[in-house]
Symmetry: C2
Subunit: 438 residues, 2 copies
């Protein structure tokens, strides 16, 4: 057991050297607004899912430069003494708004708006992006799989195919998007995600034969367990399983071969023997298209691993964190001026943003509206930014279950086309609303 270090060095070197130079020039204390958004959706997806908010708020509270961090920065000369002094007192005192966790987003949606001095906002860039880029990527992939599964439960079991801490966050993000549970025990402890598991080939191979292995599992875990039936011959394993457990057998798992065809044979076998309640769980390199293709197979649940934790082709959400406005002096009352770079091919829109989702008379989303000004509330305009941090205090924490329920509503609100598995345009267009000039 070692002390968990602060989150403060999960930061890029240049953020601290920019801080140093800005402290020296005096610009560090100018009020600024940074925004996080995606220029486009990955893999021509139709929507993205906001995830990571709860984790970001936790990390923000631990974003303090402790002695280990300060010693490292001093020893390696990353920054000078005035900067070290600033960092040793660092505590974010600004305001943060964001899209609520579990909501959907589109290109240009300002999913996080961070306001404070340049000094306190710039150092959060890497941490905020790391958390949201990972968690949004996983949640966005997971949401499509949930749609493809069409009500059948999904088990998240990809821990082994991603970084061990990313695995915990992936389990959280998948649950948020509607997965039933996870294999990852730490996600159970840390976030209350329900955990579940079946059995591995190693367990069967450990025993002298398959019958011994099944008997051992049934004796210890009860008949409501899931037996893995494809170590040798599936139908022979099925005969052994039903012979030992009878119709009370909880489930069997198929992990190889033609899953659809096997499921048909296994279902028929189970039904013939009166085991109509015994479920069939399939696993093995499933992603959203394979899940959808199994819709007509007699399958009761899917285990998803690699494709989930790698974002099913889009392992990062490609969100960026950009300075969009700043004061021209360090007077806290000085007005904010929009700023934007003009780099080729990487356009940004300057100025603090607000956002609403416009709905039609049936409550179906029609437009993502991004405003340069605070819009008036309207009956068919759902405001999208909620307060997360006020004056440095976290105010936006909520149970994971709330984000999970919000995601169900957010998906239901989108046009039907959003739930297609094929590649396509964003489900609704993003419209930038400029202030009318007199």
């Amino acid at each position: 057991m070692t002390e968990r270090r602060s989150s403060a060095l999960l930061t890029d070197h240049y953020e601290l050297t920019m801080l140093q130079a800005a402290l020296r020039s005096g610009a560090a204390h100018r009020r600024t607004v940074f925004e996080m958004f995606a220029r486009r959706l990955p893999e021509t997806r139709r929507y993205g899912v906001v995830a990571g908010t709860g984790r970001f708020l936790d990390a923000l509270e631990h974003f303090r430069f402790d002695s280990a961090a300060l010693d490292f920065l001093a020893r390696t000369g990353v920054v000078d003494d005035p900067t070290l002094s600033f960092l040793s007192d660092y505590r974010f005192s600004g305001d943060v708004w964001g899209y609520a966790e579990g909501d959907c987003y589109f290109p240009g949606s300002p999913i996080l708006v961070v306001e404070g001095t340049f000094a306190e906002c710039v150092v959060l860039e890497t941490l905020a992006l790391s958390i949201y880029n990972h968690d949004c990527a996983i949640a966005s992939a997971a949401s499509r799989m949930v749609t493809a599964a069409n009500g059948r439960p999904l088990i998240e079991m990809g821990s082994r195919r991603t970084h061990e801490e990313a695995a915990v966050a992936a389990a959280r993000a998948a649950y948020l998007s509607g997965f039933a549970n996870t294999s990852n025990l730490e996600a159970g402890l840390r976030y209350g995600v329900p955990t579940a598991g079946t059995s591995a080939h190693a367990f069967t191979l450990l025993h002298d034969n398959e019958r011994h292995a099944f008997a051992a599992q049934l004796e210890s875990l009860g008949k409501d367990t899931t037996l893995l039936v494809d170590t040798y011959d599936v139908m022979r394993a099925m005969a052994t399983a039903v012979d030992l457990a009878g119709p009370e057998l909880g489930a069997v798992r198929l992990d190889s071969g033609d899953l659809g065809e096997l499921a048909v044979r296994v279902r028929a076998f189970l039904d013939e023997r009166g085991a109509a309640e015994t479920r069939i769980i399939v696993t093995g390199d499933l992603e959203e298209h394979a899940i959808q293709a199994l819709a007509i197979a007699p399958v009761d649940g899917y285990g998803v691993g690699t494709s989930l934790v790698t974002g099913s082709g889009a392992p990062t959400a490609s969100l960026v964190y950009k300075l969009v406005a700043r004061a021209r002096s360090d007077d806290p009352e000085a007005p904010l001026s929009p700023v934007a770079k003009r780099s080729v091919g990487k356009p940004s829109k300057g100025g603090r943003k607000w956002a609403t989702r416009r709905l039609d008379d049936h409550g179906v989303a029609t437009t993502e509206r991004v405003f340069e000004y605070e819009p008036e509330s309207g009956r068919m305009e759902r405001p999208l930014l909620v307060p997360l941090v006020e004056g440095g205090e976290v105010v936006g924490r909520e149970p994971l279950e709330e984000a999970r329920e919000r995601h169900v509503r957010a998906i239901a609100e989108l046009p039907v086309a959003a739930r297609r598995m094929s590649r396509g345009e964003p489900a609704i267009p993003t419209v930038f609303e400029q202030r009318a000039h007199d």
Copy 2:
């Protein structure tokens, strides 16, 4: 600051329920061998890079079920009391061999061999796979980028595009494979990876104009800094940069546009003004092919982000951890019998393995030899498995620099074709050597 929890719950639910069932059946104490290997290389790469060893050994030492873990397992009923009792005393007491970190691997290479009782080996599956699958994926991608850069330095700067802890591991893996440094400060603190940074557009936009921003950066960080010159107009920024810093300017960074063409213009501009030593660093969605395409451009270094931390198309190494041998009783002296499942399309070779790399008379690798028996040593056979853990004690820890140097040698030993960027077969074939039967 919170306590860092043990690594023990970075584990799949089913490992503990299998443990429970095996404790009940008595098979849990049978001696076993588990092996980690890749069935194939991802993305038709020509070699893989072993990475994660040092991190795995650290995690293994922290693999203890502390009270938080045990309380969770008891409260949620994941396992029964005898299993909790076993876990509370858990400490790996077996042996581990592995390919040395930084070495190359091929399909079927037994990169990790874990021997101990089933009970103590099975629970390490997820943790070991998570670490190696992530780190090998990143190191394998990084190694190709280093080849493509052909001696020019590479900066790892992908932290923002991956999970915040994966970012630290990615920086370590990239450095192992030959990257010069990283933007990730935590990787500097934790693993001694050199850190570096340039500047962001936000710094320029914060100031009243580009000249103010450059002046502030030069004043604080010295002339040997790297100025970001593409916020507005590159050639105008170059004029400002050279005007302010003169020929001692350290470097400029280009992050957008046609990098090759811009580099030519910037180089000419710098040379005309006597700034022949000022370096040109390019960044912006670079991967190995883009790096190689810039070989003829006057570029002095590359910053690589997204493609590095996502494994450049292969975010996981797809390594598996399989039971390959076990005793038929829990007598510690009982001989080990090979075991292997027969699942369709997922072949495993049973039995404990040894491995050597055969070299020709010029020292060039010709074959990956995987033995079912301990081979005799030969002059042109490089043994690949080194002891990592003996009787539960870590014996294979080494400085990261040693692994980094080993990787240089391992790559140099491969046939020239291994260093091609195109898709292809593994650089050398894997040959399974069976014991001759009398």
